[in-house]
Symmetry: C2
Subunit: 405 residues, 2 copies
């Protein structure tokens, strides 16, 4: 948590990962983020993983530090409350993040009738208007045919919902850019961020579209090897796995030296006519020979031996670990890393909770906030933001238009 | 391309994906991005994929629309030019994106001596100071032990460098947030964004840390199934693969109806005592039975039959395709999608090139720009930004301090 964006208010009407992650990013940079949900929770309210109590760790993780109001969004009066919230907030407000349909009661054109300078950032599925989630976009990107063992026949899905995460971050960038422009022109806008456009744009930015379009050939599956350079997983003598990458000359030279393979590599270079230090493509093209040479050497080394050999060198490597192993052994996933604090959440559980993953070097990190219970801030928001009297708030509760925690 | 950030200038001294993607994002939103490189190119200048000409499609993809200046960064006079560039630019400038070491000539403390309101966003590897790239961070996140076939024994790497991409986007958010704060306080800052912190924070935001820490159990590998809900790949009668996901009640009900499996599902619900429509966790827990029921049905359907069955329903699905197949068949990866235009690049190749993946609904997209050749804008930048005379520029060329394209 930092205060870079304090004084900015975002209203979020959203579910799942992308749009809530956008809102979360604003929380972590100091903005006031008000999230409205249907009474009882939206479609993401029970998403796995769950706490033993049944609370969704997923919902909790994505909604930390937001203020929560629960509204009957099926009812016109409830919808009016949501619209009023989006339109409220004076100069601080006018920022709406959503994945609600573009043609419903939260259509931007309707909302601007209430607040002309509104910025709406709307996460959508497929750019052609079809419903899509991360996994039904990822299947279209070609990555599942590149991921997994070289001899795998079918597609291999990713587990990290990478398109959800990148779309959420792109939504945050969109809102910040639109806010900057509004300060200049006074004008808001709607920006739509389709998961599928984020995915295909990424393919383009990484040169993958150019590669395939100009060669009319798909990239082959290369297992755990890193395309176009030196990189793969290796097994150690004590049954651990490490990832080793040598993208630069310096990393390659250091690796060869640390593993005492200078002579063997020089012989191989001579026999195939390659310069592995100077040409990372050659390290990829001759990967079979290089992998087998290095794999042989790695089999003779335990993790502690390897760590000692690589320590203080520019070798680029890392040990594979499960999340449980990371929690037990990796200081980067502990309160030794100021990114994390142990926070008691509404689920009743206390666990390591991250703040913003960038570090503002001149500021002290504020502790990451807990997630709210659904509707915890209903009355506070109605009173403070919509200026409703306690009588009016009571009536809304009685009519079932809103609910508290 | 949009003009939301026109009037903003970013200086980029960076290589590989994350920091250059940050700069690219600013280009695509209308900022002037000046990238300096060592003469002959940095360590990413020959990164695969390559064009037939040897030009890096990767470098080209990540540096579209930037102005390029080539400088001898090993020489004090060249370094002074880079520092002068970072410090220049009046109110528009003062924004520096880099992955150069924090303790070298581009240390923030040194740069602020020249420009007190400077914002430096520095992408780093591991939060503990060690060198790291995407793949040596990913191995630490636990994902490689969750990715891939259920019976895989070792780690399975991702192919999309997801942490590079998310770190680049986080860097862009950091810069925009710091810029907003500077407009208020007049003060700049340095923000460091370690790949490993972005990765571990993502694990936390998705509830994964909470899950493992509170249960002291790692999540099991579940192949292509989507954790905690209904989702998997299925083979069709004509040898294609589709991804089907049912996260919501609506998606599940539509799927069961479209596949005419209401009776079979009802029988299964009765025999196991579950309500699949109302409980997505049950859809996951009983996935073996559900997958086999649906896989049987899918085997009787060809892709065209399936597309017809699902058309106009809320079923959430997508066809797996390679990049080549997408280029041939998917309108989302074509100039029918305004995200893309066919652009002639410095490599001599013309190919589909994406702009910003968000769509500003009230604006017309400007065409995505081509990548520069290395050093194309050297003289222009020296004259315009550093106000050097043509005599001085000539001397710098003669001394080998700078180079053109």
């Amino acid at each position: 948590m930092y205060n870079l964006l304090s004084g900015m208010r975002i209203v979020e009407g959203a579910s799942f990962i992308a749009a809530p992650l956008c809102g979360l990013t604003f929380v972590q940079l100091g903005a006031d983020v008000i999230r409205f949900d249907p009474i009882g929770g939206g479609p993401d309210f029970h998403r796995w993983p769950l706490a033993a109590s049944g609370t969704s760790f997923y919902w909790e993780g994505l909604n930390k530090g937001k203020r929560s109001i629960a509204i009957d969004l099926a009812h016109p009066e409830g919808r009016e409350l949501a619209v009023a919230l989006i339109a409220a907030g004076g100069e601080a407000g006018g920022n709406f993040v959503t994945n609600y349909p573009a043609d419903g009661f939260l259509a931007h054109e309707r909302l601007v009738a209430r607040r002309p300078d509104l910025i709406t950032v709307r996460v959508t599925g497929s750019s052609d208007g079809r419903t899509a989630v991360d996994y039904t976009v990822n299947c279209a990107t070609g990555y599942p045919y590149l991921t997994g063992p070289e001899d795998a026949s079918g597609p291999v899905n990713h587990v990290l919902p990478a398109w959800d995460v990148t779309t959420g971050l792109t939504a945050a960038i969109s809102l910040l850019a639109a806010d900057r422009e509004r300060r200049r022109s006074g004008k808001g806008c709607e920006i739509r961020v389709p998961l599928s456009d984020v995915a295909f744009a990424t393919l383009g930015n990484l040169g993958h579209i150019a590669e395939v379009q100009t060669s009319s050939k798909d990239r082959p599956r290369v297992g755990n090897a890193v395309f176009g350079t030196f990189g793969r997983d290796f097994a150690t003598a004590d049954g651990r796995s490490v990832m080793i990458v040598a993208v630069t000359r310096r990393q390659w030279t250091a690796l060869v030296e640390a593993l005492e393979l200078k002579e063997e590599i020089a012989r191989l270079e001579q026999s195939v006519g390659a310069d592995f230090a100077g040409d990372e493509g050659a390290r990829f093209n001759h990967r079979a020979a290089l992998f087998s040479l290095i794999a042989e050497r790695m089999k003779t080394l335990t993790m502690p031996m390897l760590a000692a050999l690589f320590s203080g060198t520019p070798v680029c490597w890392g040990e594979y670990q499960t999340v449980l192993e990371a929690l037990r052994n990796d200081p980067r996933l502990s309160t030794e890393n100021s990114l994390f604090a142990s926070v008691a959440h509404a689920s009743g559980a206390s666990y390591l909770t991250p703040g913003f993953p960038g570090s503002v070097m001149s500021e002290r990190r504020l502790p990451p906030p807990a997630a709210p219970s659904l509707g915890t801030h209903t009355d506070e928001i109605l009173a403070e933001v919509l200026k409703l009297s306690s009588g009016e708030i009571g009536r809304l509760h009685d009519a079932g238009m809103v609910a508290g925690a």
